[in-house]
Amino acid sequence: MGIGTYILVSLVKIAIALAILLTAVAYTTLLERKVVGRIQNRWGPSRVGPFGIWQPLADGLKFIFKEDITPPFANKPLYMLAPIIALTTALTSIAVIPIGPWIRLGSINTPLQIADVNIGLLIILGVTSVGVYGVALAGWSSNSKYSMLGGLRASAQMVSYEIALGLSLIGVLIYTGSFSLRDIVDSQAGTWLGFIPKWNLFRGQFVAFFIYIMAAYAETNRIPFDLPEAETELVAGYHTEYSSMKFAMFFMAEYANMVTVACLASILFLGGWSGPVFGPPIVQSLLPVFWFALRVFAFMFIYIWVRGTLPRFRYDQLMAFGWKFLLPLAIANIVVTSLVVALK
């Protein structure tokens, strides 16, 4: 493949990935409102189109036409920069996530992934850890008490849970011996006894999966760890002062992060896109993507389910849970996993 073709294919893949991601973000908001509505015995949005399926478009239009307010005495450059950082980092991390095996289109043979790199997992960790600045700067630059408290809480929470999140991935890495997300998926291929899939979840990493889920909820600022936004005490936390598209950018960043976390969970613990493949060639090449999307959807659904079910933690409980429970548990998981691998 020549360099020109390579760049062209990459650009097309970037465009497709962004389109898929943004659509997924838009429709996750709808799914969330519908599911939370049903959990609370309401209907959720139902007016715009059948079952409210055009609701995200209506929301988007509304955001565009709202007045964009900058509070007085805000630090203007940083106030502008914060939502850009949040959204950019959230969208960047999708670049290394594979959504399926290699496909062949005519003479072009390409992976279903924008960039297949050796250190994919580390890149995701790095990019998401830079995303903290979006939240922290938003809280600091709006010159408001609520935003400030939200920003402080968010940065402390995200830094603390990042440790547990990173350590929970070590077990998977010990099994795989590679940071490449594609290698991690390939290492989970096959079954035991013909029907139990060799997912990392069933290879003894269920503790790691539990830690990962908890830490991921905290990293994405979702209930039960949504202290940075805590609408009952902090108005809206770090984005209290934001309106119009700047607010929409934070919103999109949060949901894009949720999608990334769900993709990563399926890749690391649930076998990626493994699943029965059958039918004509075109179906055969698209079926893995469908299995992958199914896992991501299930994970998103659990996200929303938890939101509709659990109350919010108190801040000291949150910190104690992260440092005194998840962190020792993650370290114990690493020790046990490495013992198992060493003695095998």
């Binding site: 960039a115 050796n118 250190i119 580390l122 850890s129 700067l137 400030m148 830094v159």
Partner: protein, 173 residues
């Protein structure tokens, strides 16, 4: 050629960030320019084939250490820096550029005399496959075989740092 262009872009970002750190009056602006420096350094590490170091640079420096700095700046609500009363402006205007230019010229001359400017390093960025120079496996082998004792000693260092930070930052009862 491509790597030379990329090097100049990231080097310009680095130098710009470093000078901005000096010029800015507010600590949060200085901290953000340092983050720019660290990010572009990570990309320069990629040019040198040090992919694992680049990732760790972003995760540890930009993602953890600098977040701590920003957090403390926010927590203490640090304002614009005060100037010293009897500061010499001449020393500032001439000394700082003089120091920077002098040191870089000295390094240039020494490396020219040692013939280092004829050694071209780095190359096309390949980030896929096991033949990358600084790949995680190679570094892991080295770290846990040849450098095992220093590695263990750093864990003691970190433990001491944790205890020190807790003792220093806690409020007196």
């Amino acid at each position: 050629m491509l790597s030379l262009i990329l090097f100049f872009i990231f080097a310009a970002l680095c130098v710009g960030g470093a000078i901005n750190l000096l010029v800015q009056k507010h600590p949060i602006n200085s901290a953000l320019s340092l983050i720019v420096v660290m990010g572009s350094l990570a990309l320069i590490y990629l040019l040198l084939g040090a992919e694992f170091v680049a990732a760790v640079q972003v995760i540890v420096y930009a993602g953890a250490v600098m977040v701590l700095f920003v957090f403390v700046i926010m927590l203490l609500n640090a304002g614009v820096e005060e100037r010293t009363e009897h500061a010499s402006r001449v020393a500032m205007v001439l000394g700082v550029p003089g120091l920077i230019i002098g040191l870089s010229l000295a390094v240039w001359v020494v490396s020219h005399l040692a013939g280092l400017d004829r050694i071209a390093i780095g190359g096309p960025m390949v980030m896929n496959g096991s033949d990358v120079f600084g790949n995680p496996q190679a570094i892991g082998h080295l770290l846990f075989r040849n450098f095992l004792l220093p590695f263990e000693v750093t864990s003691v260092l970190i433990l001491i740092a944790i205890m020190g930070a807790v003792v220093l930052a806690r409020r007196e009862e």
